[in-house]
């Protein structure tokens, strides 16, 4: 594939790997968190861990919007879907996310709820246009990357005066989550020496929002693309910053990301959405000013207002270590549920649900390494 294979070149990977091994100080432990699920996926899918020296450890962050969605929001979506007048449109990834008591959208659908899997917000709009007697609710989730698509859908619905379309808004923001991780969790110690910064998110928000906490927390950030060579390159850049004692925001993904980001998208979002005072993240707990909701002027498109959705406090499985894993304090294999009752086929915790989750990625692509380690 043109313009993609170039970023997956095995020869260049070996060159980069040699340079990383050469420049990394054997006496230093380098612990880097890749925030995004896209990076986690690339690291696992291409076996990048095998190309890094033992003293560079990648910690899989919370940057998978499916994973961080709390049980309560899934429960709320299930209740919405169970309303007889509602057609709930959702991305496929959300179907198997466990809510309270083992419920999921997949199970509710099997029991008769009208839930449709869509590939874009516009699919949901088309359903709303084709079925004017149904209340079509789009289950909007994602970081800053997907918010513009939701914004456009609402703009479109407003122009067409679509009275039967609304969104269940769960859009969350990246910088507050990174800050929450760097500030440390409630109990677990966080050991992170540098961050591989978001790729697609940064195309929208730019690199500037990371500057403040890179300075405050004194952690280097390298914004990187999602291809495996991007990740390797970013790791090399982080090693160099640490070796030099720097903690700057650097941009590896210059082919797509600028310092200011996509200002048109930012302006559109600011016009339509406002900050929630706080939002619960699975694994991180309640994070202030970390999520968006529609402004009063767009209340008609807000399913939470339209259907009086209450806040539901769901409960995670108490043995689930997703929180500590998302903060980089534990690895998937340190969770008792991992690979026993919790697998991608029967996920218990959020990290196992999406292929971008830390646990699912390790289970699906990397678990042979545990046995290789045990044997040696």
């Amino acid at each position: 594939m043109k313009y993609i294979d170039e970023y997956r070149d095995g020869g260049l990977a070996r060159t980069l790997a040699a340079r990383i091994a050469d420049e990394a100080d054997p006496a230093t432990l380098y612990r880097f968190m890749e925030f995004c699920g896209g990076h986690t996926h690339a690291i696992s899918r291409y076996g990048i861990a095998d190309l890094l020296p033992g003293n560079i450890r990648m910690i899989h962050g919370p940057g998978c919007p499916v994973c961080v969605l709390p049980v309560g929001r899934i429960d709320a979506a299930i209740r919405l879907a169970q309303r007889p007048e509602v057609t709930l449109c959702t991305y496929g990834d959300l179907m198997r996310v466990p809510g309270s008591g083992g419920a999921s959208l997949l199970k509710v659908k099997a029991a008769g709820a009208d839930i449709r899997m869509v590939y874009s917000t516009l699919d949901a709009i088309r359903i709303a246009e084709a079925e004017p007697l149904r209340e079509v609710v789009f289950f909007a989730i994602g970081f800053e990357t997907t918010t513009p698509a939701t914004m456009l859908a609402i703009r479109f619905a407003a122009e067409r005066k679509l009275a039967n379309f609304s969104i269940f808004c769960n859009h969350v923001l990246t910088p507050p989550a990174i800050r929450a991780i760097l500030d440390g969790g409630e109990s677990d110690h966080v050991g992170i020496d540098g961050l591989v910064g978001p790729a697609h998110v940064s195309t929208v928000i730019g690199t500037e929002p990371y500057e403040a906490f890179a300075k405050e927390a004194q952690k280097p950030v390298v914004v990187a693309g999602f291809e495996p060579l991007d990740v390797m390159h970013a790791i090399l850049m982080l090693v160099r910053q640490i070796n030099d004692g720097r903690h700057e925001v650097e941009n590896q993904y210059v082919r797509a990301v600028t310092r200011a980001g996509n200002q048109k998208a930012q302006a559109g979002i600011a016009e339509m959405f406002e900050l929630r005072e706080s939002f619960e993240w699975r694994g991180l707990g309640t994070v202030p000013l970390s999520a968006l909701r529609l402004k009063q002027g767009y209340a008609a498109f807000d399913a939470e207002r339209r259907f009086d959705v209450e806040d539901i406090a769901g409960r995670d499985n108490p043995a689930c270590e997703c929180g500590a894993i998302l903060r980089g304090a534990k690895t998937p294999t340190q969770c008792k549920l991992f690979g026993t009752v919790c697998t991608p086929d029967t996920p218990m915790g959020a990290c196992m649900v999406s292929s971008e989750g830390a646990c699912a990625a390790h289970w699906t692509y990397g678990r042979f390494r545990d046995h290789a380690k045990a044997a040696s």
Binding site: G10, P344, S354
Partner: protein, 348 residues
């Protein structure tokens, strides 16, 4: 049917299946006559019995059955009719067997266009004739609108295994080579490209094909050095290798660089967040073969049109965990796991 009785012919242009076509009456007889017998014509069907009688070969026979519910019914490179012939022939052939006869059972939804049914039956007949494996008996049922999705087809196949051959999943030994007959993912991507909500433009066509000719050439070249063969349909080559690993108590190590993947398939998978290793094939096979016979088998496969792109993609290894591992083109290692749940695109 009495040829002297006046009968208005089926309207194969605008007509539709109605409940009378499944009622056992004259309408059903007409449907079978004008569509199925016309399309599938052979000596067994034309005798009009509820069963087909034929001589039994000496030796071991194999039998298999499969249901076809593909959506959409017509896709680039084939349709449910040709698929129902190819798929069942392939399941027979994977035993190293020579397929002899097929049966076909149709469950048709009320309102289904007769033109589409004829197109499917004709395609089925053409596929069966090309393969030399006739559909010798069949059945038709009609269900109310909404109780089926257009048409479902089940086919059963029987065949005869050459003497001395006993291919089976538990026979893989460490060191055995893994041979793949050609590019992966063509069928799944071609079908997905026509799915509702997912339409994208591609010149890719399904690889749907009957593999028994290729298999015959392979059996001649390597005989019982072939441990087992599988056609990697649903779940793709990943499922096939994991099944064999489980059954034989071995692991596999394959090389991503050795896997033939067409650029269109790679691009579609990239776009939809799928792994070509999980995407279905309908005209490919995986053969596990003793190491010293691998090159000869590969050479024999490459001479056949359906094995032109055959490649050795890896080998069986000792592994108590029965992992299928892959060396990525990037240079790292990873597991090739079963598909979990449905194949769904990643969203960011």
């Amino acid at each position: 049917m009495n040829s002297k009785t006046y009968r208005r012919r089926l309207d194969l242009e605008h007509g539709r299946i109605d409940l009378s076509h499944g009622s056992g009456g004259r309408a059903m007889a007409q449907l079978i006559d004008e569509i199925f017998h016309a399309a599938l014509a052979n000596d067994w069907l034309s005798r009009g019995n509820d069963q087909a009688a034929f001589d039994v070969a000496a030796g071991r026979m194999v039998m298999t059955t499969d249901g076809y519910v593909v959506s959409p019914l017509f896709f680039p490179g084939g349709d449910i009719g040709s698929l129902a012939v190819h798929g069942t022939i392939n399941d027979v052939a994977m035993a190293g067997a020579r397929p002899l006869y097929l049966s076909a059972s149709f469950i048709i939804e009320e309102g289904f266009p007769l033109a589409d049914l004829k197109r499917i039956a004709d395609s089925m007949g053409a596929a069966a004739r090309a393969a030399g494996v006739p559909v010798v008996t069949g059945d038709t049922k009609v269900v109310e609108r909404g109780k089926a999705d257009g048409v479902f087809i089940s086919t059963t196949g029987i065949g005869v295994v050459p003497a001395g051959l006993d291919l089976s999943a538990e026979k893989v030994l460490p060191g055995d080579r893994v041979i793949l007959s050609g590019s992966i993912g063509d069928h799944g991507v071609a079908v997905m490209s026509k799915r509702q909500n997912l339409t994208f433009d591609t010149d890719l066509v399904s690889d749907s094909a009957a593999l028994h000719g290729l298999v015959a050439a392979m059996v001649e070249a390597a005989g019982s050095a072939i441990r087992v063969m599988r056609d990697p349909t649903r779940g793709g080559i990943a499922a096939t290798l994991n099944e064999l690993a489980q059954a034989s108590g071995v692991g596999f190590r394959i090389a991503e660089d050795a896997l033939p993947v067409k650029p269109q398939v790679a691009a579609a998978c990239e776009l939809l967040g799928l792994d070509p290793l999980h995407v279905a094939n309908e005209g490919k096979l995986v053969a596990i073969v003793a190491p010293d016979a691998a090159e000869a088998l590969l050479a024999a496969m490459r001479v056949h049109p359906l094995g032109r792109d055959a490649a050795i993609i890896g080998e069986a290894i000792e592994d108590d965990h029965r992992f299928v591992q892959m060396t990525t083109g990037f240079g790292g290692g990873r597991i090739v796991d079963w598909l979990s749940g449905e194949q769904l695109p990643r969203i960011c």
